[in-house]
Amino acid sequence: MTLKRALIFIALLSALVFIAIVTVPSLQDKADITPPATVFVGSKDNTSIVKPCSNEHPEWRPAQIIDGVSIDAAPACEPDNPYDVAASVKGTNNISMSTLMQTNLAQDALTMTDDLDNDGDPDVIHIKLEVVELNGSTPDGEFLINTFDIAPGIQPGLWVYAPKSRGMALKNFNSVVANPLLRAPSPVIRVEQGDKVYITLENTHYLPHTIHLHGVDHTWITDKGEENDGMEEHAVFPGKSHTYEIQPRHAGTMLYHCHVQTAQHFMMGLSGMFIVEENQPNNELQTFNIGAGQVRHPSALIKKTYSQEYDLHYQSIDKKLAKIIQEANDPRLIAQRMSRDYNMTESFENYFLLNGHSFPYTLRDAMIIASENEDIKLHIANLQRSSIALHIHGHKATITALDGVDLTPVQQITRDVFDIAPAQRDDIHLQTKNNGLNSYGPGLWMFHDHVPTGTTTDGMEPGGNIAILAYKEFLDEQGMPKMHDQLFDQVFNKDYYAKKQAVWAEGPYAPLLGDAGLLSPKYLQIALFGLAIGLIIGLLVFSVVIYKRKQQR
């Protein structure tokens, strides 16, 4: 090879390398004068849209009398099944078969007998609870079973206590949805002070559990000498049952929860409110408040002071913990991953629930529905991992009891942020008197945990435990808030909580605040780059071949 040829070769190669370097195409680039257009990224069809209110049982909403039990009106979109209420008041042993058939309760779920103190109400109460897994895994395919959506498209694995039920656990034959009795939160249980209460845990689940009666007056062992505190060392194993016996002397808002691997099982949802009501003559209590929320048959004492009664159960979920039961089916793998691999000290709260739902599903069954000049009793329990700073827009309410102990008039403070520690209960007197202090007047007043995480669903706002204190005139005939159509279009959509859709992808501001599209590629530059790289490789291979041939000669 002559020197001249070598120089030409090197110059050519350098030029090509220079061109290649200058024309390297990038994966992102600065926009020219016109940035890319706004695009709609969510699904093009309607499959991700959810109807705000399915309006399945409008006949359940009005006030009614079933088997002699008077049931208050419940204007919400998803009112409690009034037959469940009747069975919860009378006991499954004292209602007609036709009423029982309208529920999913087993015939021995709640038996009420024996007026021990001769004051006109039954005092021996047998309650049977089962443990139910929601949104669990199946070896039969890539789907979840006994599903319960906490928000559009959100199905975290959950465990709940449920009143002993009968029949299909699914809603119907073509469905994987759990029947309405099987839902979060674990049901609120109400008994009367002095009642002889037998709570039987029939462990239908595949891991051991117990019931610990937090704050409820109970002996440490039963008369028979059996374990009665629901502690870990006396776990009720799968297929076994155990009866806890109590005769509470003190009334108040208390709790019950599983005390096996407590941190995890509590956060999986095995916790609920246990309310002991003061002994009153002819007192009829609604033993189960399925799904918490409005009590459709308040006790004699409540009715003396209050026009309505609500149970508010706050709960949070770590999506990593909830996933464990969805990613394996073998109980040994689940036990290992939940008890040893999972580390509670490295956990997060991703979902925040009020009465088993996150916003917007809280609007279906977790609203407080009021008129002006009402006195409303709220039982609030914090069953989440972190503290709550509950704020009710437009109202200042009064704390009447803490952890089931009444406060003296001097101790009762009126405020608009209630700090509630984990496992703590606040009894609150909410007045809708339009006086500029207790209420600012009728409206659709939001109420929510004011800790910033609490209003999100896995970080998506608005979500979490946001709900509404709704004055009746602002509700439509299906019990949904009026004047919220645009918000409903946005949030009753699975794509929204899957983070596939821009927050403001609807309405007049969509072109401004929707998702930005992509830059169009610069084809000339890309073609030049390709050409340069190709030539470099070609030249090198060619020169190697020539060199070898020369050597062989």
Binding site: T113, R166, E202, Y206
Partner: protein, 229 residues
């Protein structure tokens, strides 16, 4: 005491009065039977071909023979002739609720295609059903949340059945199988490395001996040519 006795008697009467038939459903405080059928023949069956008595135990202890399960029936498969009448004795050995459901039956005899037994706790009950003549495999399971998933699943085959259902404990594979770690020891790693070395060595051996191989080939070739001449 008298009041207690009286209420117990009243309660007993009430409960027995409640054990009645509701359109194919018989229910009492112990359990329920839905869509039992002792005498109505399926359209395709001129008569009952055989009477089969089956006792099925349901309970947690039956899962012990299957790893990775929690609840099970004591058997996982039954075979009957077309048009067989099956008399089931269903026994629940647990203190909790269990069910025995059979799906896919003809809807004109069994509403929603289902035969359903349920025991609210320990106990037993008896019920019969008559199978159609079709060659088919029926799902038998307990429908409590996670009970079928955790092992309470079986199949009933008429005339040999039309295949197997997935994830029946000890019988068939799951559709979505769990993943387990593999036990890698020093021996496992040694075997891997030795086989890889051997694989790399073979081409080298061929190149090193290329001349020898070529010579050998040439020799053989010339021998063949001489013979042909």
């Amino acid at each position: 005491m008298r009041a207690l006795l009286l209420s117990l008697i009243l309660l007993g009467n009430l409960q027995s009065a409640l054990a009645m038939d509701h359109g194919g459903m018989i229910m009492d405080e112990k359990g329920m039977i839905m869509n039992a059928n002792t005498d109505r023949l399926p359209r395709d069956c001129p008569k009952i071909s055989e009477n089969v008595d089956i006792t099925i135990h349901a309970g947690q202890k039956n899962a012990l023979k299957f790893v990775g399960k929690m609840f099970a029936f004591d058997q996982q498969e039954w075979n009957v002739k077309p048009c067989a009448k099956i008399n089931i004795t269903f026994i629940n050995d647990d203190q909790i609720r269990h069910q025995l459901m059979i799906h896919g039956l003809p809807g004109y005899l069994y509403p929603e295609g289902m035969f359903h037994l349920e025991l609210y706790g320990e106990g037993q009950l008896q019920a019969s059903l008559i199978m159609p003549s079709q060659k088919k495999t029926y799902l038998v399971h307990c429908e409590l949340p996670q009970h079928m998933e955790k092992g309470m699943k079986a199949q009933l085959k008429v005339d040999g059945g039309d295949g197997d259902l997935p994830s029946i404990p000890g019988l068939t594979k799951p559709v979505k199988a769990d993943i387990y770690p593999v036990d890698w020891t020093q021996l496992t790693w040694s075997v891997l490395f030795l086989s890889a070395l051997l694989g790399i060595g073979i081409p080298f051996l061929i190149i090193i001996n290329a001349t020898g191989i070529n010579n050998f080939y040439q020799k053989m070739l010339s021998k063949v040519r001489r013979k042909n001449k």
